[in-house]
């Protein structure tokens, strides 16, 4: 008992036994909805307007990429004319013979005007969507796979493997990936395609994913359920795939959605610099922005519209990444 002298005798108060009883200790909340990390995240996502806005934009972009013909019948690269020469052309465009079409503003059937080569800006943007999206997705998948494999092995097995892989990552990290991609693309002058450019971008951007996954794996690896699995007799590999990876993957998903936007920008940047995709085969927003530079004063539409397409796409993916991050983070969920 306390060494102090009691200053008073407190009354002995006993509450009435309340309706709930003491059953709560044992009760299983079976009436509640099922929940786990992913279900909770989905329930949270459903309630965010930013998620729906970005999801609608992204679905639209995917649709455009898959079915460009649904939006425009005008070929993006063929039948481009610098000036109206025949009566047929004049009738189709509603302008007299001899009109310069190169860098011309909107005409009937060509809502966004023409490029310097006299190609339809709208059609080029629509057909360029597929390129941007493919590069974005291929790079993201490549980076995620490399990052996950390297990060997981480094984090889970530790020791010299960890040191080796992480130092390797540091080397790659120290080289700016755009610079590296410029060098790689310069090596492939004649046979550039979507795969080459994706590899060029992705091959140097895995270290940040690997680092993030490694730190998550390091955290999860020390949790009791991993130890429990090992003492059950689960092999190290199975423990890693069954328990460690699924519980460490959330940050990678977040960084990947934002990274997809970055990859699209990177493709545009390389194309802008002239080391991207050949502009006579692939429609690419970056190519168009690059080509539009020279006529910025006289025909701003050739620059502005591809830039808007690029910005909206990138913004949509960044918004998606933001909402997914908040949904997967219980702390951010609680404060909403």
């Amino acid at each position: 008992m306390s060494s102090k002298n009691p200053v008073r005798t407190a009354p002995h108060y006993v509450a009435e036994v309340d309706e709930g009883g003491l059953g709560a200790v044992d009760a299983v909340r079976v009436s509640d909805r099922k929940s786990n990390l992913w279900l909770d995240a989905w329930r949270d996502l459903r309630g965010r307007w930013m998620f729906w806005v970005s999801a609608v934009i992204i679905l639209f972009i995917v649709f455009v990429a898959l079915f460009p013909g649904a939006l425009t019948q005008v070929p993006p690269n063929d039948n481009c004319i610098l000036s109206v020469k025949t009566q047929d052309q004049a009738d189709a465009l509603g302008v007299p013979i001899g009109t310069r079409i190169s860098d011309h503003g909107p005409l009937p059937g060509h809502p966004l005007g023409f490029t310097k080569q006299g190609c339809d800006v709208f059609s080029r943007i629509v057909h360029g969507t597929g390129t941007s999206l493919s590069v974005g997705i291929i790079v993201t998948v490549l980076v995620a796979v490399m990052g996950i494999v390297i990060g997981a092995f480094a984090g889970y097995f530790g020791g010299w493997l960890d040191s080796f892989l992480m130092r390797l990552g540091d080397i790659f990290f120290a080289i700016p990936y755009i610079l590296a991609a410029v060098v790689i693309m310069s090596l492939f002058l004649h046979d550039r395609n979507i795969w080459i450019i994706s590899l060029a971008i992705g091959f140097f951007s895995w270290p940040s994913t690997a680092r993030i996954l490694r730190s998550e794996v390091l955290r999860v690896r020390n949790l009791d359920y991993v130890m429990a699995s090992e003492s059950i007799g689960l092999s190290k590999f199975r423990t890693m795939f069954m328990h460690v990876l699924p519980n460490s993957i959330a940050p990678v998903i977040i960084i990947s959605t934002v990274g997809l936007a970055g990859a699209i920008t990177a493709e545009a940047t390389l194309s802008f610099l002239g080391v991207g995709l050949p502009n006579n085969i692939y429609m690419s927003w970056g190519n168009d922005i690059s080509a539009a530079q020279t006529s910025l004063r006289t025909a701003p539409q050739t620059l502005i519209y591809p830039s808007i397409a690029l910005s909206v796409t990138v913004l949509a993916f960044i918004m998606l990444g933001e909402t997914v991050r908040d949904a997967l983070d219980p702390k951010a969920r609680a404060t909403r």
Binding site: P6, V7, R8, N36, L234, R238
Partner: protein
């Protein structure tokens, strides 16, 4: 102010937290008085609203919390109505706070001195640089830290947990407040440290006539340290009054359950189901019958099992860790030092020790999660230190662990059914149908309904998760279960349930337990034999009765004396 006036008077306090589903009440109409100089303890399990009540008094509720009704009268002023500036003048100066977690309550990038001086300046106790420094030294001296001058120049990481808590107590008491709120001040510390710290706090507050609100989950500790108790359950006060009276004559069914479940207050080993006649599934959920008490039936026939052959045998087991220093060299650290003991079949051996004593490492060595440096461990007479892959798998089948943290020991992405079935799948026991049947069988053994099969761990309470962990351990019909602090993280009532469950399973299935714990009180109700570990060595080894009645070493005596509430005589 006359001595008969209460210093603090909480009247019908209501606190609610904002969540996604609207406001959820956490404190529902709590009223109590604190008189000058008295110590009052608020006791309750996690989620009972005890800490929330304390934080509401000094207006330190987290962002989503709000006082929704009632008054907090401190010397006649309603604290809940004060403006921020006025409240800041009360906090620290009039009401001090000793926070819960000494490890995270000091800023690691500032020197101790800076943090103590900050308090002194904030409360206007001294202004000139020299006076502040002088006062800071005094504060640390009062808090019981030797070489206060030197200590001020150190950083928090150079301090042990107990020393940090002393600093926090010093800070809390630095301006001689009239009231101190101590929120579980020692729950993160070892028992022997806890006793010293609380003795010191009691001494300081008694000397100055400071009133103390002491918040704890441990009824024994509360009764030992406070004159009056307030027992809270689900946001309400269920019983309050003089500590001794409540302990000896609890009237509310919840308090009765709490008193009978507190291991520090119980005296004997739990008897198995056979002795009490209570079948395992009969865990009382509805009525007020305290069937979950740690039954105090007379001595168990523990002697009988002593003659049984040892299932686990440690012979001079040593584990040396290499601590990396950052360079190529490493320092050897002996975590387990020539430990030898035997565990007879069907009995429970408790490995007791404070943090860093090597008890958990010993468990990991037995589970072969770490490799032994020297010595041998025999299980069923077979040396397990050098086993092939197949033999190791066979060993794992015989021996299963249950870990401390019910929140960490289950994979949050696997449902309960898959979690329990995992060991069966790994060892390819039977076909899908027999596995399913076995899962249902063990679920029944741990008294969980079948409806949990499709649920995920975060939907279950701590006690239920620990049952799932036990069910997973039992799935392979092991002979040995290694319980590493398996009940330490649980609330008292749930702890009592799990301990009872373990005892019943032992007698039913003839299990052998290696029970790792820091809590001697729990040892008394679950174990047959005790090995007390200190700094990697076993300092005392005997049956539970011998250790408790006739401890041989000073260290064991110190551990025993530190069990809170051990001297309080219980009523009928």
């Amino acid at each position: 102010m006359s001595a008969l006036e209460p210093l603090l008077s909480v009247e019908d306090l209501q606190v609610a937290f904002k969540t996604q589903d609207g406001f959820v009440p956490a404190v529902r109409g709590v009223s109590f008085d604190v008189y000058p100089g008295e110590t009052i303890a608020i006791v309750g399990e996690s989620g009972s609203g005890k800490s929330t009540t304390a934080h509401a008094i000094i207006n330190l509720l987290p962002g989503s919390g709000r006082i929704t009704g009632g008054k907090v009268l401190f010397e006649g002023r309603d604290l809940s109505q004060l403006k921020r500036g006025e409240m800041e003048a009360v906090r620290g100066k009039e009401i001090g706070l000793v926070p819960q977690d000494p490890m995270n309550s000091l800023n690691p990038v500032h020197r101790i001195g800076f943090q103590v001086e900050e308090t002194i300046r904030a409360n206007g106790l001294a202004t000139s640089k020299r006076d502040v420094r002088k006062r800071a030294v005094e504060v640390l001296k009062e808090a019981g830290l030797a070489d206060a001058d030197q200590r001020l120049r150190q950083f928090p990481h150079e301090f042990s947990g107990g020393m940090r808590q002393r600093v926090l107590i010093g800070i809390g008491l630095s301006s001689h407040p009239k009231l101190v709120i101590a929120d579980e001040p020692t729950s993160a510390l070892d028992v022997t440290v806890q006793k010293k710290i609380l003795d010191h706090l009691e001494h300081l507050t008694a000397e100055r006539g400071t009133a103390v609100i002491f918040i704890t989950h441990d009824l024994g500790l509360a009764a030992e340290r406070a004159e009056n108790l307030v027992v809270m359950h689900r946001g309400k006060i269920v019983e309050s009054g003089p500590a001794r009276e409540i302990l000896q004559n609890p009237r509310h069914p919840y308090t009765k359950r709490l008193v009978s479940a507190a291991p520090s207050l119980a005296s004997q080993r739990i008897q198995a189901a056979a002795a009490t006649g209570a079948p395992i599934g009969s865990v009382e959920v509805e009525g007020e019958e305290p069937t979950l008490s740690l039954l105090t039936v007379a001595e168990r026939a523990a002697e009988a099992s002593v003659d049984a052959p040892p299932v686990i045998e440690f012979r001079d087991v040593t584990k040396v860790f290499k601590i990396r220093t950052g360079g190529p060299r490493s320092i050897p650290f002996t975590a387990v030092d020539k430990v030898s003991f035997q565990v007879p079949k069907g009995s429970t051996m408790a490995l007791v020790g404070e943090s860093g004593s090597g008890k958990s490492t010993a468990a990991k060595l037995l589970l072969r999660l770490e490799d032994i440096t020297s010595g041998t461990i025999h299980v069923d007479g077979k040396d397990i230190t050098e086993l092939g892959k197949q033999e190791l798998l066979a060993l794992r089948r015989k021996m299963q662990p249950v870990f401390q943290d019910p929140y960490g020991s289950l994979d949050p992405l696997h449902n309960i059914g898959n979690t329990i079935a995992e060991p069966l799948n790994v060892h390819r026991v039977g076909d899908a149908k027999t596995r399913k049947a076995r899962v249902l069988e063990v679920l029944d053994q741990v008294a969980l309904p079948q409806t949990v099969l499709a649920r995920y761990p975060n939907e279950l309470s701590g006690g239920q998760r620990q049952r799932v962990a036990i069910a997973r351990a039992l799935a392979l019909k092991p002979e040995i279960v290694v319980l590493d602090e398996a009940v330490s993280a649980l609330d008292v009532l749930v702890q009592a349930q799990v301990l009872n469950l373990l005892a019943e399973l032992q007698s039913e299935l003839g299990l052998t337990y290696l029970f790792i714990t820091h809590d001697l009180a729990v040892v008394r109700v679950i174990a047959d034999h005790v090995s007390v570990m200190q700094q990697g060595k076993i300092v005392e080894q005997a049956t539970v009765g011998e250790v408790f009645d006739n401890p041989k070493t000073a260290y064991t005596r110190e551990l025993l004396a530190a069990i809170p509430g051990v001297d309080i005589p219980l009523g009928a």
